[in-house]
Symmetry: C2
Subunit: 638 residues, 2 copies
């Protein structure tokens, strides 16, 4: 294992965390028993698994797609994480079987990619800009690292080391190697994982090489473009806007990474790139990379992020547009992008140690990422709009199936987002009941927590350790919380004097059985967007705790734009066991623009009559589970 | 001339109306001295005029387009109307020259179409659905009738009668003739004009034949589609959605015309169709056509029309979508469609005699149609959005140049929209200073009016006639007016007891010099849209008299969505001689959401601070004449 000297703290690995949570445990169980089998079935039935047998012949349908490998890889990663918390011999064996297929697809030189082995074998590394070879390699590496970490088996890891060694023999700054960077970033962060798993510095160097290849003039993608046939170049031409110049901002290639300040292009690509930049910065102390990450964070989190943690408003580039442009009904907000935002913020959190990153993880986790999967675990959103006229629904699978296994691996790995440790301190980032085994002040500490989060803000934390020891216990005070109270062993402690980077830091000599009680006030809040967000002007969103709410027509059977929530309206949080698996819903009396009195005129000089109207809002993540109809997050206010 | 027995009233022809109006006379002068010469120049330089020489050879650029003929036709019509009010020997001679070119392009059998004579001579009548032959014929017929009516010359009329005779020999229900209808309606209304000009019943019958061809099962367009080559059929396939079925609602071919109730498809096509239906109904007393027109009117004017009189919100089909769907920034609202709405309402007015039709003529005329032309008369909007981020500007010409000559012919023919007459009554529909010579109660009556309309609601009307005579003088009380007062020879008369169909009917024995003073109160009104219009929810538009206002960034240098006009805000109308050719602007104090105090958060729980902010609104028709920047019609309200 490598040192991670430039990180303020280290994550606590999955195997050391137990989740026993009323909100999350059922979801993880659904993930394990429904989602992961469902996705295996989809991968199997669509040919993605057996494609690794390399038996495909020209003319056969389906033709393996050039990013199929990544879907299987993410499924392996999700299944591996699941094994970490729920041993399952059947799944273990199935993983071994799939991994053998993958291993069998490796070429004598170490290369491993179905499409460019059987479908277009002459085109290996010919179109890095668009053909996802390095992206697929990255996901396979992540899967191999996860499988090794969880099972201790080296088979897949060895295969992927061989592939990574081969890639390292092809790409690099040495005269004997070639230029190039992945059009879809992913391998950068995967190579850092491989470096951490193996300690082999070459993988870190290769990751840094790929980062440094971005933003050159001329672009590496422009250089390779010149060698493409017109047919092969068509997709590059489309995304790189070849008609009006060579603009590779679609894949964040507009500037050298250290010079970037504005989040541009495809949102998932951007998140994976920034995650890789954070990883390399964490390992190398590269201040230029880190400063860029912080500037990019400011840009996306302060100007280009939906209240749900969704990012990338435009369908056109599946990505970013301009500051404060956050349309609702046409919001793209790909599930993978919200997940990528979590990945990146999780990394930034460990470097900078500031709660604002964990706040973003929480915002995306409970809202714009979780919305990507149905309560039954078998249907998925690729696109997560903030308003719908009723024609947008989750699907069982997609031709481009990146999102389903991405949300599966996120949920399966939830344990790794809860706690961190450093030499002197323990950290609690997310409020998920269960416990973590930490190593703090050169000793073992078990931290347990118990709450009804996210529905209730009272959290009980218990410290357990063999003998009393001094250390700091850092408890995140969420950015959404306006009133937090804290008790240590029953005695109230003021929060503000001990607040450091958004955490209440309780430094003391801890003894076994010490308790901390945290009470986060959770009133129903009316969220206002920055005045520059034209699409939210005159509207509020409702939020309670970390949960962002939405209005659905099934609860409010009127055109939703006619509902107005006055400032003074009483809004009440009500836990409903029967609703959507058990949620706190928000109820209250708003006003409704009446159409019945209006008459047949389309325009008139008198405003519509407003009547009292009872409203119900539900958590955004749970929308689209009942009758079809309208949905809105931003509701008119007065 | 034919009887028009099914019309309640008859229009007063252009030659009998003199306009001497502070608002309109300068516009008509610009139209005559700038717009019409500019458009001739454009037609000439782009090859549209000389295309009629039929000298085009394969390989030459530009290739005549299959609707070029219609652009020249509308220019001739505009120029002819202009001659009616401003004799101009040079223009008269130029018209003769162009008409000779057109006459020279007529084929021995009477056919007259540049494209299908020189470019694709084998494809005559092969694709009525998309290739605009009958549409071009219709515009040429309208031009010929206008030229004949104004100049008395028969040359062009005779040419077009020959063409119409030829068309009549091709199309019809007789066994020897073929099925078919124009994919772009226009010839239906033109043939009724030709019938009225010549008295030849065949033209009326042919118009009715084309109307009756619509909405058959299978569609006439589907029948012809089967004979098209894949290449020729591509455009039909696109607009008729051939992938999922044969849907010809794009050109109102989804139902027989008498069964239609919903305005669908391409908006200009729809307006020209309904105009033709009204014309045939007026001539034949066809109650089924008339009932359909009234249903369609309800649908468009009560559910699918912008407050500007613009129609057809979607760029996709240049047309209609669904009830109450009126997006602002993406509003298509083609200039030609607003003009078509005027044409159709002008016809409905004469059939039903109700002021609501003249109200729509006024709404579109002063707003969504007039916006189509710049104050200098040489730039044009094709698309008239109700909000702009600053990137939409008028252009000198278009490849598809239907709108510029359409607005030119509308302005040149303004005189025909002002007065009407029937056996016992005179009507004043529009308040344009000048006079009209009417024939009422079997005698001549001159009606003069004097006002500063649309900036002021005080209108003075003077009646002049040789000897006293009893008749009804009907004066429209606009739908926008909440308080109208009336004086006859200085003595006030209550309006409501004499209100008939939206007109104040003053029936008396009129003597020369009798005066009527009408005072239409013109406060600044806040227009509210029907509660079903989601895109206007929480917003108001400002209107004063017939003029709809908009906010431009040049007057209000802030993001316009941040401006809120509270209900109680004092709004003042101020005439500004220097502004945009002299307009009444609206000024007042509104509120502005402040961004300066907000800080760097994207979301927060406290609303933005609101400060008093002075606002200025200008007439919508005059937007985009100063610096670039945002524009909005619907402004937030509280």
């Amino acid at each position: 294992m490598s040192p991670t000297s430039n990180r303020k703290m280290s994550p606590v690995s999955l195997a050391k965390v137990v989740i026993d949570d009323r909100f999350w445990s059922p979801r993880m169980e659904v993930n394990r028993t429904k989602t992961i089998p469902h996705q295996y079935k989809q991968c199997k039935e669509t040919g993605r698994i057996d494609a690794f047998d390399l038996t495909w012949q020209p003319g056969e349908e389906p033709v393996p797609h050039y990013f199929w490998d990544s879907d299987v890889a993410k499924w392996i990663e999700a299944a591996s994480y699941s094994l970490a918390t729920h041993p399952d011999p059947g799944l273990d064996a199935l993983l071994d079987e799939v991994i053998e297929k993958i291993a069998g697809a490796q070429q004598p030189d170490g290369y491993l990619n179905v499409y460019f082995t059987v479908v277009e074998p002459t085109k290996r590394w010919k179109n890095l800009g668009m053909w996802h070879e390095l992206y697929c390699a990255g996901h396979l590496i992540e899967a191999a690292v996860a499988h090794h970490e969880v099972t201790g088996k080296r088979r897949f890891l060895d295969v992927m080391c061989r592939y990574a060694d081969y890639i390292d023999s092809v790409f690099g700054s040495e005269a004997s190697k070639r230029y190039g960077a992945p059009g879809h970033e992913e391998i950068e962060l995967a190579l850092v994982k491989l470096y951490r798993a193996t300690g082999d510095q070459r993988y870190l160097n290769l990751s840094k090489f790929f980062l440094d290849q971005r933003g050159q003039k001329p672009s590496v993608f422009e250089r390779e473009f010149e060698h493409l046939s017109p047919e092969d170049a068509r997709i590059n031409r489309h995304f790189f806007d070849k008609e009006t110049g060579f603009d590779t901002s679609y894949c964040q290639d507009h500037l050298p990474v250290r010079d970037q300040s504005e989040v541009v292009g495809h949102a998932v690509r951007a998140m994976y790139l920034y995650s890789g930049m954070a990883d390399v910065a964490a390992e190398t102390g590269d201040e230029g990379l880190l400063a860029a990450c912080r500037r990019l964070w400011d840009n996306v989190c302060r100007r280009r992020m939906y209240v749900t943690g969704g990012i990338g408003p435009s369908r056109h580039n599946e990505g970013f547009t301009k500051d404060y442009d956050l349309p609702n009904e046409t919001a793209y907000a790909e599930t993978c992008a919200a997940i990528g935002l979590i990945f990146w913020n999780h990394r930034m959190l460990h470097i900078d140690g500031e709660a604002r990153y964990a706040d973003i993880v929480e915002r995306a986790l409970y809202n714009g990422a979780l919305s990507g999967i149905s309560l039954d675990g078998e249907r998925f959103f690729y696109v997560n709009p903030l308003a719908s006229s009723g024609d947008h629904h989750r699907q069982e699978w997609f031709g481009c199936a990146c999102c389903p296994p991405n949300i599966a691996r996120l949920i399966a790995s939830l344990g790794s987002y809860i706690y961190s440790e450093d030499a002197t301190d323990a950290y609690v980032h997310q409020y998920v009941s269960g416990h973590g085994e930490l190593n703090v002040s050169q000793g073992h500490v078990k931290i347990s927590q118990q709450s009804q989060y996210p529905w209730d803000g009272e959290i009980k934390i218990t410290v357990d350790l063999h003998e009393p020891r001094e250390f700091g216990l850092n408890i995140r005070i969420p950015g959404w919380c306006r009133e937090a109270r804290l008790w240590v062993n029953g005695e109230e402690t003021q929060v503000s004097p001990i607040l450091q980077g958004g955490y209440a830091r309780i430094y003391r000599r801890w003894r076994a059985g010490d308790t901390v009680k945290l009470d986060l006030a959770m009133p129903v809040e009316r969220v206002e967007a920055h005045p520059n967000v034209s699409q939210a002007a005159g509207c509020v969103a409702l939020q309670r705790g970390p949960i962002v709410y939405c209005f659905e027509e099934v609860d409010n059977p009127v055109p939703l734009h006619r509902i107005v929530v006055p400032r003074g309206a009483q809004l009440e949080a009500v836990y409903d066991e029967e609703l959507l698996g058990g949620v706190v819903k928000i109820q209250g009396e708003a006003r409704l623009m009446d159409a019945a009195d209006w008459g047949h005129e389309l325009y008139r000089f008198q405003p519509a009559v407003m009547w009292p109207y009872p409203i119900t809002a539900i958590p955004y993540y749970a929308w689209d589970h009942r009758g079809p109809g309208e949905m809105r997050v931003w509701i008119r206010s007065l």
